[in-house]
């Protein structure tokens, strides 16, 4: 046996110190205030961007933002969004006749919000909507639609996209004046 024998005294001392430290640390924790937050009594304020119940928002003019483009439904990993599109009689604007999210399947990943070109679908910090019936988790358009703009109150997709459905050419935010073909001034 060429193996070094451990120094028995050093060894025992370190063992005793290890055990003593363990007891000391746990006693220090024993005397500390518990860090537990008691849920129904205390509700931690969640950050604005935390992902909870989903809403469909409106633009500043009060119109529905959703144009029923199916992007959210296509990107949703659990395929829990379904809808049917239609065009409005007066101006041909697209909207969803019905729009349904099954929250029993939603995993609150936020992909739909990322995909939405009109910022219509948004996740909110509200997470307290438990139900006893699984079918109660199926939210229809009436349940989803709110009458505000959510996190982006001033955004209007049609104005930014420069579609002439509302207002004339050049009347949209960040849009350049139309080129005057009859003048050669720069």
């Amino acid at each position: 046996m060429t193996r070094n024998k451990p120094n028995i005294w050093k060894y025992s001392l370190s063992a005793v110190k290890g055990i003593y430290d363990a007891y000391a640390v746990s006693m220090i924790n024993f005397l500390r205030k518990p860090v537990t937050e008691e849920y129904p009594e205390y509700k931690r304020p969640l950050p604005e961007r935390s992902r909870g119940r989903i809403i469909l928002t409106r633009d500043p003019d009060g119109d529905e933002r959703c144009v029923a483009c199916y992007l959210c439904s296509a990107v949703c990993p659990t395929s829990c969004i379904s809808m049917e599109s239609a065009e409005r009689e007066e101006d041909g604007r697209r909207f969803a006749i019905w729009f349904r999210i099954n929250f029993a399947r939603c995993i609150y990943c936020g992909q739909c919000e990322e995909a939405c070109p009109t910022l219509a679908i948004q996740l909110t910090p509200d997470y307290e909507f438990c139900q006893y019936e699984v079918l109660d988790f199926v939210y229809e358009k009436e349940d989803l639609l709110v009458d505000h703009g959510g996190r982006h109150p001033d955004y209007n997709f049609y104005r930014h996209a420069g579609v002439t459905e509302k207002g004339d050419k050049g009347a949209h935010p960040d849009e350049e004046e139309p080129v005057n073909l009859k003048s050669n001034m720069p």
């Binding site: 055990i19 007891y23 006693m27 924790n29 024993f30 205030k33 518990p34 537990t36 008691e38």
Partner: protein
Amino acid sequence: MWFLGFVILLIKLAAVLGALVLLAVYLVWIERRLLAKFETRLGPNRAGWHGALQPFADGVKILLKEDLIPEGADRFIFMMAPAVVATSALLLFVVVPFGEGFTLWGRRVPMLFTDLNVGLLYVVAISTVAVYGVVLAGWSSNSLYSLLGGIRGAAQMISYELSLGLSLAPVVMMAGSFSLVDIVDAQAAYPFILVQPVGFLIFLVSTMAEAHRLPFDIPEAENELMGGYHTEYSGMRFGLFFVGEYVNMLVLGSLAAVFFLGGWRGPLLPGVVWFVLKVLIVPFLLIWSRAALPRPRYDQLMAFGWKCLIPVALVNIIATGGLMLLFG
């Protein structure tokens, strides 16, 4: 008047059994709260005042569970094993004096059931019987996890039984008697912990191993054995193991109180109160250890028992004898 003595005995039995089981059931709650405190959590605090009804909620839950018996199990042994654990824990309490005794209708009512003149030997013998519960449960479950747990339990409890007995030898030498009453009487002046600190430490460590509590819960090591010898148990049979374990903690606490802390003796307060307070010291230490220490490996555990505790206990006996010869 034999009749009166019989009635008194029955009342005493019922009272002590009730108190012991109730205290054991509450110990579960106390442990969960204390353990939570050690981990800066809160623990169960919802059912009743600070969660004080939690044991009953757990009891109802466990009673309503299905009582499963695994296929291929040895049914009779499987069903009896939890009873062995619980009974052997309760039987230990028979010789423990838990108070001063009083006089009722001209009769002396001692606060213990029987003053065996070999009480200490009885304690050591009965606490070994609990091994059978563990081994038989592991064997009869027809499951590898349970079998491993049972084998580990047998090896561990038999080795630590030795150091438990040896740590008590100096107490017997100093008290000059095996009777627990005499041992308490011998501590009228000072508790033995003051002169036998090493013995007390060895007793405490052996106690942890006897009660197979963390850090010595090798027989039920959840992380590796899923629950060890009681893996296959459910419902009230599992509850019986559970209650048995906590009664065992209390009984070992009362033994520590009797052998080292002066039993029911103490100033001001009545004897029973002192006794309960002292009994609760060991469970508190066990819970604290559970929060503080990791579980050793199986071979480390055996090595510690045989190569460290038993030699130290033997040296302790010799030293005590030598000092008693010198001064006594």
